[in-house]
């Protein structure tokens, strides 16, 4: 039986009403924090997941062609402004060695080369403007998931086949096995069989994207053996920016990370994270103030008992520890109840908010890490909040209590 633990526990048990009050306060605060964290991280993970379902983490493109400005002598007169040139069809020629080098870079999990360009799909007199995307299907599927996008047909890409979006399929009245003609501005033209109909998740992509074998795209677009992009999947999603910077240096190509390609989204996510952090910080402060104020009242009410304990020879440090422990216990137990409360609220919301097909709008993220961190922080906050009341208790003059 330890003095500090026993006395702290008894005082909490004895002050039923105050203990209940303070526990309720901490539980509600922690509940709000857990709820917000679970919802926001669920939402963000879901948005990022959806956004990246059709994008590579890093895309390598040919470097911009720029005109070299003539050397200027200081003090000389400038005779002409030099504007950026129109960018010719600029391609990557020696991509085989680049892909090999990128594959060997740490933090890269998959690489796919792509030859893409504008074209027209034609069927039964209907013409639709499209994007031709020539890929090696096995490589491409490593970078961008396709099996969850398949609506009809099979995910195979032998010579002479094309995989098209479901809007284009509807516009042209096509099903797997149907035929369409692909044409390009350079005069290329070829008839293809529809291998599969895909749902890319966005109407615009479903209208335009046509996947076909790399070799045939290169022929149609007149690229010879060149490609236009190299798609890269990173092992660590949030390190895509530094990976892009590395690859730009090592390959001499332009490298764009998913963050730089989705600037608005990243800004929105960041400001959402910042506001959720603000809410959590302020709720934490409110909880700390609540603990402190209830404990101050407790110290005043327990003045007499503290005085007796001191008169009987309890060191001031032990009184201090008793009240710090009370703060810690309240924080810990409050965070346990609060975690349950927050988890229940988050689960409830995700049950209520459903998409039309009945699946949850977004999954809430309730991992043990969240609960453990919350419990640790709440305990620490409880101890810190108890510091002032505890010091007050430790400095109480026993005589005042005894003379009563």
């Amino acid at each position: 039986m330890n003095f500090v633990w026993t006395v702290a526990w008894r005082l909490l048990r004895e002050g039923r009403f105050q203990t209940a009050l303070i526990l309720a306060g901490v539980s509600i605060g922690v509940g709000v924090i857990v709820y917000i964290t679970a919802i926001v991280s669920g939402l963000q993970a879901n948005i990022i997941d959806r956004t990246l379902s059709t994008q590579a983490h890093v895309v390598l493109r040919p470097a911009d062609i720029v005109n070299q400005a003539p050397l200027t002598v200081p003090g000389s007169v400038k005779l002409a402004d030099i504007a950026k040139r129109t960018q010719r069809e600029n391609t990557i020629a020696n991509w085989g060695s680049i892909v090999a080098r990128v594959r060997g870079t740490p933090n890269v999990s998959a690489v796919a080369a792509m030859a893409s360009g504008p074209g027209v799909a034609q069927q039964g007199g209907v013409r639709k403007s499209i994007v031709l995307m020539g890929v090696d299907l096995d490589d491409y599927r490593q970078v961008v998931r396709l099996d969850n996008k398949l609506k009809a047909g099979r995910l195979l890409l032998p010579t002479g086949t094309a995989l098209i979006g479901k809007e284009l399929a509807a516009d042209l009245g096509l099903q797997p096995g149907g035929r369409l003609r692909l044409q390009t501005a350079t005069g290329g033209s070829q008839s293809m069989t529809v291998g599969a109909v895909l749902d890319f998740g966005l109407k615009d992509l479903n209208k335009r994207w046509v996947l076909l074998p790399l070799r045939e795209a290169q022929n149609l677009l007149g690229f010879q053996r060149d490609v236009t992009e190299i798609y890269i999947k990173s092992e660590r999603l949030f390190e895509a920016e530094s990976l892009a910077a590395n690859l730009a240096l090592s390959t001499g190509l332009t490298a764009d990370s998913w963050q730089s390609s989705n600037g608005q989204l990243v800004t929105a996510l960041k400001s959402q994270s910042a506001s959720s952090l603000m809410i959590r910080v302020f709720v934490t402060f409110a909880v700390a103030l609540g603990i402190a104020s209830v404990l101050v009242v407790t110290v005043v009410q327990r003045q007499r008992e503290i005085g007796i304990l001191r008169a009987m020879g309890t060191p001031a440090s032990r009184i201090l520890a008793v009240f710090l422990l009370q703060g810690g216990l309240v924080g810990l137990f409050g965070s346990l109840f609060g975690s349950l409360l927050g988890a229940a609220m988050a689960e409830g919301i995700s049950r209520m908010a459903k998409t039309e097909d009945g699946s949850p709008l977004f999954p809430v993220v309730l991992d043990s890490e969240l609960f453990i961190t919350t419990a640790l922080i709440a305990t620490l906050v409880g101890v810190l909040a108890a510091l002032l009341p505890a010091l007050r208790a430790a400095r109480l003059d026993p005589v005042v209590a005894i003379r009563g």
């Binding site: 003095f3 048990r13 007796i308 008169a311 009987m312 020879g313 309890t314 060191p315 005894i402 003379r403």
Partner: protein, 235 residues
């Protein structure tokens, strides 16, 4: 315990400075049983609190077991208090959140930070000695006033103190119970040799004590300095 020229003043600053004790010289002999008498406001509680190291004298020195205490810090005074002194207050001051047995163990628990099963046995033995064995598990509110005061008395004995300071231990008890409590204090003094200093208003109870110390307006009366021979006492 020895007091040399102990003075105590209150106030100062805004409120007027009032000297309550005007230089007390007093020695308590090991194993004696002394009553401290005096009218209300004469400074008895102040003197007892100083002897109990709960208050510091404004001037003078207090020695406990050859240790000078005037210059000690709070931690050292607390440790001395825990080791050598036991307290009984007028209002028994039991801790309501703890059982009778736990209250008895409290001085040991508070000083050491933990208790063993042997300590528990000693507390139970003390309670048994004052006839409260079957009330050990009860909360203070479940006990009568006399029972509570008896718990408070054995609580003061838990640490085997050299000196027990009791401030009007029978002040709020009826005559019958007060007599019983005093008899118990005498018995504990005889059996264990613990020194007692007991503040009381009641001349009749004081007459039963071998030594009587009289305090008037912050000064000890001359006769209080002399300890009468045990044979000359009323018992």
């Amino acid at each position: 315990m020895t007091l040399e020229g102990v003075k105590k003043s209150y106030g100062g600053g805004k409120s007027p400075l009032v000297e309550v004790l005007h230089g007390i010289d007093l020695q308590l002999v090991e194993g004696e049983f002394a009553a401290l008498l005096g009218p209300s406001g004469s400074g008895k509680s102040t003197l007892l609190n100083i002897m109990g190291l709960l208050e510091t004298p404004t001037a003078g020195e207090l020695r406990i077991a050859d240790t000078a205490t005037a210059s000690l810090d709070d931690a050292a005074r607390t440790a001395l208090r825990n080791r050598y002194l036991g307290f009984v207050f007028q209002f028994h001051h039991l801790l309501p959140a703890f059982s009778a047995l736990e209250n008895v163990m409290m001085p040991l628990f508070a000083g050491q930070g933990r208790v063993t099963s042997q300590d528990r046995q000693r507390a139970a033995m003390l309670l048994q000695r004052v006839g409260l064995a079957e009330h050990a598990a009860k909360q203070p509110v479940q006990l009568s006033g006399g029972q509570q005061q008896r718990v408070a008395i054995v609580r003061a004995l838990m640490n085997r103190p050299r000196l027990v300071l009791a401030d009007e231990p029978t002040g709020n008890l009826d005559t019958q119970t007060a007599n019983e409590v005093f008899a118990l204090l005498h018995e504990l003094n005889r059996e264990d040799g613990t020194t007692f200093l007991i503040v009381t208003h009641d001349q009749r109870l004081a007459d039963g004590c071998p030594r009587q110390i009289r305090l008037l307006d912050g000064r000890l009366q001359p006769d209080g300095l002399v300890s009468p021979a045990p044979s000359a006492s009323g018992r």
